[in-house]
C-alpha cells in the first residue's frame, strides 16, 4: 500500500499505460488510505468515493480499448474546496459558502477531460484567507510532518493530502502565497504560474487581480505534467492571457549549467530575519546549484515591506468587495480570523486602493528590471518551519513572515520545493522565481536541484 500511496503522477501514468496498474485498484487503495488516515489529518472536506470509482472504471475501460488520453488518465486528484465541481457544494471551508456549483470550473473540466479521477474536495483556510481556524464547520488540516503542526495555507488540504500519500496531484490557489506556503511546510512541490496562465473561471475569488490557480504535487516532474493540463487561454477569464503554452517537461533534464541565478538574500537576512536553519538551507541550495554548473549571484529587489503593503491593501479591498453582502447580513457565520481579515478592507479608501494598484505597477517594473541578466531567482518561501497548529500566537506570527507575496504582486511564476529538514525533522523549503511565462525554466532548475538532493524521497514519520 505504501508504494501506491507515494506513487507519483508520472510513474502511475507509466504503469497504467503499461497495464501494470489498474485505475480502479489504485483509486480504491487511495480511498482506503483516506478512510484510515483522514480522521487524523483532516485533509478532505468531502470525499466522493462512488464518483471516483465510477470515473476510474470509465478510465480503465477506455484504456483497455486503446484510448489513452494522457498522463492523468486514470490517476486520482483532489481540488481545494473553492474550485467548482458541477453538482457539488463549494464550501470555501465555511458555514457561509453553501452553494451547489452548476458547472465545473475550467480547471476541473480540464482535469476531468484528461481522464483524471476526482477523489474529493480539500480543506482550505476559510475562503482562502482565514486560518488555521477551529471555529468552522470542519477542523483545519494538520501537517503529517511533526506531531500536531500547521501545514500552511490556504491550500492546506492539498498540501496535507499529498504529504500523507492520499493522492498524487491536487490543485490549490495562490493570492498571497497559498500554494507555495503549504508546499513549503508539507515538503511537497507547489507552482504559482504566471498571472493569466491558468483560468480562474469557476474558482471562488479572494482578490481577483491577484488570484492564481496552481498545481501541487510531490515531485517537480509531476508538477510540470499537471501544469501542462491546466495552462491555456480562457477568453472568459478577463485575467487570462493568450500566450503560447510550451512543453513544460521538455527541458527537465537539461540541467542548470550556464544558467544565471539571482540570490535574493535581503528578503531573509535584512528585510526579515529567517529562522537560521531556513536561511542556511537557501545558502546551501545556492551552493548545490553552483556545483551543478549554474552561476549564482546576489541581486536586490524592493523591500518585502513595500510588496506586502501593496498586496495587503489590494487583497483586503477586493476580498471585502466579494464578501460585503454576507458580512452585512450574517457576520456571525464567518470564523473570527476570516471575518477580521476581510473587514480590514471595509475601511481602506478608494483612493488608497487605487494608489496600491499604482504601486503594483511600479513594483512590477522595478522587479523585472532587477531580473534583467538572470534566468531565475532563488530565495526563501517562508521564514519559518511549521509551528504547532494549536499555538494561535505562533501561527499569527508566522502569517506575514514570508517572501511569496511579491510575486503575486508582479505576477511572475514562482515555485516552492523542499530544501531539507530542521534538526527536529520539520520541512524547510526554497522558492525559485522566473520571468513571466518562463515556468519551464523554473521546472528545469527545480528538477536539477531535486535530483541532486533527493529530499522528496523522505516520508513523514509513520507514513
Amino acid at each position: 500500500m505504501s508504494e501506491l500511496a507515494f506513487l507519483g503522477l508520472a510513474d502511475a501514468a507509466q504503469l497504467i499505460r503499461a497495464r501494470k496498474l489498474s485505475p480502479v485498484e489504485y483509486t480504491r487503495a487511495l480511498l482506503e488510505r483516506i478512510e484510515r488516515l483522514d480522521s487524523r489529518y483532516h485533509a478532505f472536506i468531502r470525499v466522493t468515493p462512488e464518483l471516483a470509482i465510477a470515473a476510474a472504471r470509465r478510465a480503465e475501460q477506455e484504456i483497455a480499448a486503446g484510448s489513452l488520453r494522457g498522463p492523468l488518465h486514470g490517476v486520482p486528484f483532489g481540488l481545494k474546496d473553492i474550485i467548482d465541481v458541477a453538482g457539488q457544494p463549494t464550501t470555501g471551508h465555511s458555514k457561509v459558502g453553501d452553494n451547489i456549483a452548476t458547472a465545473d470550473a475550467v480547471v476541473t473540466a480540464r482535469l476531468k477531460s484528461a481522464g483524471g479521477v476526482l477523489l474529493g474536495k480539500l480543506a482550505t483556510h476559510e475562503f482562502a484567507i482565514g486560518g488555521p481556524s477551529f471555529d468552522l464547520p470542519w477542523p483545519p488540516a494538520v501537517n503529517p510532518w511533526g506531531g500536531n503542526h500547521f501545514p500552511g495555507g490556504s491550500s492546506s488540504g492539498s498540501g496535507v493530502a499529498l504529504a500523507a500519500g492520499m493522492l498524487p496531484a491536487a490543485l490549490g490557489t495562490d493570492t498571497g502565497g497559498s500554494v507555495r506556503n503549504p508546499a513549503s511546510l508539507c515538503a511537497i512541490t507547489g507552482m504559482k504560474p504566471t498571472y493569466g496562465r491558468v483560468s480562474r473561471r469557476g474558482v471562488f475569488p479572494l482578490a481577483v487581480s491577484l488570484d492564481h490557480v496552481g498545481p501541487m504535487t510531490r515531485s517537480v516532474r509531476d508538477n510540470a505534467l499537471l501544469l501542462q493540463l491546466l495552462a491555456g487561454h480562457d477568453p472568459e477569464d478577463p485575467g487570462s492571457a493568450d500566450v503560447e503554452v510550451p512543453d513544460y517537461a521538455a527541458d527537465l533534464e537539461r540541467g542548470v549549467k550556464g544558467l544565471e541565478i539571482g540570490l535574493i538574500r535581503h528578503f531573509y537576512a535584512e528585510d526579515m530575519q529567517a529562522d537560521p536553519e531556513q536561511a542556511q538551507a537557501i545558502e546551501t541550495a545556492a551552493d548545490v546549484l553552483r556545483r551543478l554548473g549554474a552561476s549564482v549571484r546576489e541581486i536586490r529587489l524592493v523591500s518585502l515591506q513595500e510588496y506586502a503593503t501593496c498586496s495587503r491593501i489590494i487583497i483586503r479591498c477586493e476580498a471585502f468587495a466579494v464578501h460585503r453582502r454576507w458580512l452585512q447580513q450574517r457576520p456571525g457565520d464567518y470564523g473570527a480570523l476570516a471575518r477580521q481579515r476581510i473587514l480590514d478592507g471595509a475601511t481602506v479608501s478608494a483612493a488608497d486602493y487605487i494608489d496600491a494598484l499604482r504601486l503594483r505597477g511600479r513594483l512590477t517594473r522595478r522587479t523585472l528590471e532587477a531580473f534583467a541578466g538572470i534566468d531565475a531567482a532563488l530565495t526563501v518561501s517562508g521564514m519559518d518551519p511549521p509551528c504547532p497548529i494549536d499555538d494561535a500566537e505562533a501561527c499569527a506570527r508566522m502569517y506575514p513572515r514570508q517572501a511569496r507575496q511579491p510575486f503575486n504582486v508582479t505576477g511572475q511564476p514562482a515555485i516552492a520545493i523542499p530544501a531539507g529538514f530542521t534538526a527536529s525533522g520539520l520541512p524547510l523549503s526554497l522558492q525559485l522565481v522566473g520571468h513571466p511565462w518562463q515556468e519551464a525554466t523554473l521546472y528545469r532548475i527545480a528538477h536539477a536541484y531535486e535530483r541532486a538532493t533527493l529530499w522528496i524521497d523522505r516520508r513523514p514519520p509513520g507514513l
Binding site: T309, I313, A346
Partner: protein, 64 residues
C-alpha cells in the same frame, strides 16, 4: 477610537449587524487599514496607473 465612532463607521459600511465582539474586531480593522494606507508611498502618480483600464471588445470582422 471610541465605541460610538466605531459603530458609525461600521454603519456607514452597511455593517450594522456586528456584535460587540465583532465591533472590537472592526476597530482593529480600522486601525490596521489606516496603518497600511500610511505605508503607501506618497509620490504615486496617476500616470503610473496600470490596472484600471477599461477596454471595449475589438470590432467584429466584417462579413463582406
Amino acid at each position: 477610537m471610541d465605541e460610538e465612532r466605531v459603530r458609525e463607521i461600521a454603519a456607514a459600511a452597511g455593517l450594522d449587524k456586528l456584535t460587540d465582539k465583532q465591533l472590537t474586531e472592526f476597530a482593529a480593522a480600522i486601525a490596521s487599514g489606516r496603518a497600511l494606507a500610511e505605508m503607501l508611498p506618497k509620490d504615486l502618480h496617476w500616470s503610473e496607473e496600470s490596472a484600471l483600464v477599461f477596454r471595449l471588445p475589438m470590432p467584429a470582422r466584417s462579413a463582406r
